[in-house]
Symmetry: none
């Protein structure tokens, strides 16, 4: 089966947003063993959308459109797909009810015109419910062709694909295979590393990166390096086995730096180690403004080990809530190892947690002082060693304010992870 | 002039990387006033690359290919472009020298075959030097058509575009304009709204969305709606004037909900209002885990009004740091209007700030209780009215844990913004 994604939206042609949906869908199709030869992007224009659709329908078995399902004037996808397939648009009462419910939940009044527009579906369409938005996904079978229509907002698109589209495509492919169609299976694993640079990772796996199957591709994230392993085979378990084998070879070389795999996050890995060790954590943040707490609480169940994060932006807050000595603040300044240490020990004491993690630094663009450049960050971990001695790290990060904050948060989590990995 | 980007690479079709080059090039073309109607992505396959190229050459004046310029077997772009334009590949000694130099700089031995392959260019190609990689960009004029070939690594592509391609296209467009070809300039503004749904925004500007120039297109963000105004004109200042005029018409209808324009953020808008009013803010977060503080501190200079955020994940933290009455917690539960209120007033009192903002809720997937579903969030703002009466909001958000957290944070910032806008 050949699949093709057609992304619809003038904002993509103007470069106002990055097309992350195309990547997510491409990965999803590859995971199902559905090959993709082309992707198209077209604007909110009836004639050109029709042109792109006709081309995709002529050369692909499964066409997935993204975007243009909203209530507004320039949302044309449903109309143009129905036209291209020669299907009438009919009202779907379940969709209408769902739209009203979502609009109500968001507190605004549903304008009847918008609800009516969103309630129309091409005749015979299977509705793929949208858990968080007004526009559901739609799946159409037209002769030998399949057309799926998905809304543009990534969280909504991903939820619909994961909860509804994948299982329906799986079932279809299984039936076709039973009828004798040969299937190619791709299986990917992502190995995630921290505390090591891209170049060092590449040096360690240079020969593996040349392998044709499974392929090994390095991807650089902020404060992380990922290795994507992709195996191809005619049986899913064979593809999975090949991928797993390669992951094992990678692990054999880089184990000390691997914090997780696939969807796992660094914050989640820290949480898992805290949970297993039965330890609790409190955080005192300054320049990161709450980002460390935000990352830690992205993991379900984090309340089991995460007690609190104190974002101590002002000196007053540092003194009152982390018990930082005003004299230390005066003598060394807020951005100093002494204050990072005092914050880590103070928040740990105040929260009666096993561990206290603290950051203080200069996110910029302003705030630099002689000897204290923008991007200077001090990180401290209290209770992070069996002998109870705190750990201190000094970093100088480049990049704009947002990047300095993210790099600082990732470095703090890396420090926590390495300490927990070493047995607290 | 119509431009079209053709991205080449099987890794894009497998979803192993996000196509950030397409966004960068789309934005660059729009800035030059070069219109784009389509984008294509195709794998490292000779026949299909030719098919994509022929289609682009038939419907666009400028075709920009990305990727497939490397030394390996599956780097085909140069060969296929030369073939499509009927041009021979000839060795370019300057390119050969540059390739050898870069390869040496990277310390490895230049394999002669690879150097030879990379030194070939379609006859008549203008070489656009690559400051950091082995594959230079190439610019070809074939009859009325222009073809630019760029390497895939984003830093290399962006450097070549900024240092060489933009100025050459500028010069060309200027010459064509001098020869009487009408040149089109695009200027875009983004109007950003909160506290109103997409459908209601659409109702307010339904007639404007039908306008052909400037165009007005809604974009839905999490807790925000954006209206993208894009004007076309034959003079840049005229395009800017038209866009500004339309922004004024939008403002006339939706002013009460407009928090900012273009790159401005909701958190930044809150900060600006706090700064102007000389007010300070403290936040008490629960389910958002620090996200509200993180968003507020993304704005440079936020320390002028943002004092602290207390992420009170545990009940103990809520009692100790926000002075929440244990009895209130016991009777109403942590996720209740009473506790949200107590947190807002408690953090305001403890921080001696003008305003106290608090959130408590259930991010999920677990934690639901009878009458308290996942996604239930209570938000309170203390000090947010002249008469000092706190404001309370109850919401039920859909989506996964991450989306519930983001929607909650955005709703809290909207409450703060609306209160400050209404004169605190």
């Amino acid at each position: 089966m050949i699949g093709e994604v057609v992304s619809v939206g003038t904002e993509l042609l103007l470069g106002q947003i990055t097309n992350t949906n195309a990547r997510f869908l491409a990965e999803t199709l590859a995971g199902l063993g559905i090959e993709a030869y082309f992707q198209q992007t077209v604007g909110d224009n009836r004639a050109r959308l029709r042109q792109a659709l006709d081309l995709a329908l002529a050369r692909s078995d499964l066409v997935i459109t993204v975007g243009g399902l909203g209530p507004t004037e320039d949302d044309l996808t449903k109309e143009v797909v129905a036209e291209a397939l020669g299907l009438p648009l009919v009202e779907d009462e379940k969709v209408a009810a769902a739209v009203r419910c979502v609009v109500r939940r968001h507190g605004s009044q549903p304008p009847t015109a918008a609800v009516a527009k969103q309630s129309l579906v091409p005749q015979g369409a299977v509705v793929l419910p949208n858990p968080s938005g007004t526009a559901p996904g739609l799946l159409l079978a037209a002769g030998a062709k399949l057309v799926a229509l998905l809304p543009g907002p990534p969280p909504e698109l991903e939820a619909i694909v994961r909860q509804h589209l994948v299982s329906r495509l799986e079932g279809l492919l299984a039936r076709r295979e039973a009828e004798g169609t040969r299937r190619v299976y791709l299986r990917s694993r992502v190995v995630k590393l921290c505390g090591i640079g891209e170049a060092a990772v590449e040096d360690a796996v240079r020969d593996l990166v040349r392998s044709p199957n499974p392929t090994v591709a390095p991807l650089v994230g902020v404060g992380e390096v990922h290795l994507r392993v992709t195996a191809r085979a005619s049986r899913p378990e064979e593809a999975a086995r090949l991928a797993q084998e390669m992951v094992g070879r990678v692990r054999g070389r880089l184990e000390a730096h691997i914090f997780g795999y696939d969807e796992e996050t660094l914050a989640g890995a820290c949480g898992e180690l805290l949970r297993r060790a039965g330890l609790t954590l409190a955080v005192a943040e300054s320049l990161t403004g709450g980002l460390v707490g935000h990352l830690l609480t992205e993991t379900p169940g984090s309340s089991a080990y995460f007690d609190r994060s104190l974002v101590l932006y002002s000196n007053a807050a540092k003194i009152e809530l982390a018990g930082v000595d005003p004299e230390v603040l005066r003598r060394h300044g807020a951005v100093s190892p002494e204050v990072a240490l005092a914050m880590a020990e103070g928040v740990r004491r105040a929260s009666r947690t096993d561990l206290g993690l603290a950051l203080t630094g200069i996110a910029g663009p302003s705030g630099a002082r002689p000897g204290k450049p923008v991007g200077l960050v001090h990180i401290a971990l209290a209770g992070g060693r069996k002998e109870g001695l705190p750990v201190l790290v000094r970093c100088e990060f480049g990049g704009d304010r947002g990047l300095v904050k993210l790099r600082s948060a990732q470095r703090a989590l890396t420090l926590l992870w390495e300490s927990l990995k070493a047995g607290r």
